[in-house]
Amino acid sequence: MLDPQKIKKEFPIFNRKINGKSIVYLDNAATTQKPKVMIDCLKNFYENHCSNIHRGIYSLSEEATEMYESCRKKVAKFINAKSEKEIIFTKNSTESSNLVAYSFGDKFVNAGDEIIVSIIEHHANMIPWQELAKKKGAKLLVIPMKNPAKKDYSLDLGAYKKMLSKRTKIVAISAMSNVLGIKIPVKEIIREAHKVGAKVLVDGAQSAAHTKTDVQDLDCDFFILSAHKMLGPTGVGILYGKQELLEKMPPFLFGGSMIKNVTISKTDYAELPEKFEAGTPNIADVIAFEKALDFLEKVGLKNIEDHEKKLIKEAYRVFSKYKEVDIFLPENLESFGGILSFNIKGVHPHDIADIFNAENVFIRAGQHCAHPLLNALGTNSTARMSFYMYNDFEDIYRAEKALKEVIKIFK
């Protein structure tokens, strides 16, 4: 059990009042708010440890290097990687998926090969593969939903199994949809892909802050996430890859830090993980990310998951009372996380979000970087509430108040 009121106190932003009223933040799928310990750590780095890493023979640089590498160990533990060499720091999960599409794609994907994604993918895990397919003359196959018109948003795994063949080189799949909140059975998807020798990248940008990740148990080949969606700072992403795979892959970006020896005619590249971290990385933010992970562990992912389950059930109960509201969730919420997408008959989601904003209830409206999914759902856009550890029932009732206002204005 977690106490959202107590947790809220750890996040300075909730001290803010706009027009005299407290704020209700329900856009956690876009980015989460930041705890004070993480913000303090950022400030502390710049005030007390600022220096570049991996090169200085002086105490400041040695401290900074140790702090930076300490986060790598922490991330490895957090997702249960075998070794911290398998953890690459990037700038966000979009860069992580691009790294794999470029590097793995360059070496292992050829004309006539096939790449599989699903219809629920965020553009970050769709467009890099579309581009790779185009570049290599490979084919992009898309796993559909079972029956979105009847609110069965689960992926059609029967269709998926039929797509798999020796031509399949990589399957790129989200663990959780950023629009629908549905949790995807990635373990089964991975098992099936491995039977035909395909590799699997799991996009954990949406899942990693809400449910436990165990890359060894999943047996995924790659796992990507974004720090800012899990209490961390913006500008840090993670790529996990199995060591033997990362070792076979060529570097993605070239320059300083990723080399062993350079002559005019030839360069020997550094070992993992430096091979994939060219240039000065986002040192301060990586270091602060460790504090975010500590915070997450202290609260407990199981507690977060249980809390969000309560919130989504209450939000569904409250919003489904209104006949004008169409909710993109089935009645059985068991395989869904804390995301509720909805539309109101005759009202555009932008207008919904604007009226919610007047009540200081911050929600997202639009296409959520998932155009193919929105098309498959048969809608141009949706309004979306996404919950996190610091939200409570009161936030849902404030949203309900705003909902009533929308209905009143547009009746």
Partner: protein, 123 residues
């Protein structure tokens, strides 16, 4: 909320000049990349370059739809060149409500589409 004035809601619920236009001389489309909404404008322009009729198609928020609806009223009977003289400020004045930065693109979607039509005739 002040943004949703009676006049805006009225244009949204009962848009003027909405639909396709047979024999249109110019048709243009513009997309609001922030939300994916689109507006199509169809003009029937006479030999004297006067807009005899203009209609719009599209789905979108109250602001973009009301703005397009009001704009078609404003342009009917005017010369095509008069589009040039309509500034963003004129559009805000026409809407008669405070437009926040987040809604600027919605408010201006109609006029941007009309400007595209004018550009097309200049080519």
């Amino acid at each position: 909320m002040d943004l949703y004035s009676e006049i805006i809601l009225d244009h949204y619920k009962h848009p003027h000049n909405k639909g396709k236009l047979k024999n249109a001389t110019i048709s243009v489309e513009e997309i609001n990349t922030s939300c994916g909404d689109s507006i199509k404008l169809h003009f029937l322009v006479g030999k004297d370059k006067k807009i005899n009729k203009v209609t719009f198609e599209g789905a979108g928020c109250a602001i973009s739809q009301a703005s397009a609806s009001m704009l078609t009223d404003k342009l009917t009977g005017k010369s095509l060149k008069s589009i040039e003289k309509i500034s963003n400020e004129d559009v805000y004045k026409m809407l008669g409500v405070q437009i926040s930065p987040g809604r600027v693109k919605c408010a201006l979607l109609g006029i941007s589409t009309a400007r595209k039509a004018l550009l097309k005739t200049k080519k």
